[in-house]
Symmetry: C2
Subunit: 173 residues, 2 copies
């Protein structure tokens, strides 16, 4: 099944000049959802992963599916103010300004074997910050996976020391 | 397995006086995640559901797990401005002010058999608005499910005409 054909290009979202890769057309296909999650599982299985960490909010989707398939727990990383208990946070730089993500302090235990997941690898800033959070808590990052990778933004360079996988790649906009 | 014991009470979140039911302590348990999703599946299986609709963002978690288990597609309902393509929206009333949710116009087809899912049933306003969106598109709401129901807020009264299920109930704060 050609997963990539189920991704929709939406021009000028969220701002003029950007072509947004819309995954909702993949998700609403029962076969698309199952095939994509099974293919992401292929990267991760047999590696004794016990926690899958997904980044808000599209990273929750395949993050949860992977967690359950791997018999692992699921941990959300969220925007500031969304997690109710004590958190750790990391700030990262955007093209204009900066942003912040948070994780619960008790979400990862030292020695946890972690799969980090998000839907899209663009410049890699969010995932780099997420990886720092996991390592500050003593977690071991076994793998980082994405549904989509925008090769031309070279986000992979920020994640060089990790085992990085993506299911769908785009070489240009 | 006692799922309810894995839910954590966080006092004074998001505002003073509220006791927040934190599901992250359930999600990070591999057994908790699997048991809760299997129990939610029991309510829904055998009903020929072909779309599961989850409400941003905690509703995505078990929404996706249910979609895949039911061989259905997954559809997100989101806060305004998050979905990239053409949307329908519904406004609903909160204690102070109002809020709005959106769904992609092409997400539901007439005759789709829909399971609507969210993590928490409180006053029921969000879910009532979500149900309206599905029905405006011609979808048939087969079931509405929640991980947690706060009985004392009587949200179920707003959803009387539907088949409503919840896994964990609280009779008082």
């Amino acid at each position: 099944m050609d997963i990539k054909s189920l991704i929709r290009d939406v021009p000028d979202f969220p701002i003029k000049g950007i072509i947004f890769k819309d995954i909702t057309t993949l998700l609403k296909s029962a076969r698309g959802l199952k095939t994509a999650s099974e293919e992401l599982l292929e990267f991760a299985k047999g590696k004794h992963i016990n926690k899958v960490v997904g980044i808000e909010s599209r990273g929750f989707i395949f993050g949860c599916l992977l967690a359950e398939k791997l018999d692992a727990g699921f941990v959300p990383i969220r925007k500031p103010g969304k997690l109710p208990a004590e958190t750790l946070s990391e700030t990262y730089t955007l093209e204009y300004g900066e942003d912040k993500i948070e994780i619960h302090k008790d979400a990862i235990e030292p020695g946890d074997k972690v799969l980090l997941h998000d839907d899209l690898l663009a410049t890699g800033g969010t995932m780099e910050a997420a990886a720092k959070l996991i390592e500050r808590m003593g977690g071991e990052i076994i793998q980082i996976s994405f549904l989509i990778e925008l090769n031309f933004l070279k986000g992979r360079e920020k994640l060089k020391k990790y085992d990085v996988h993506s299911l769908i790649q785009y070489d240009s906009e």
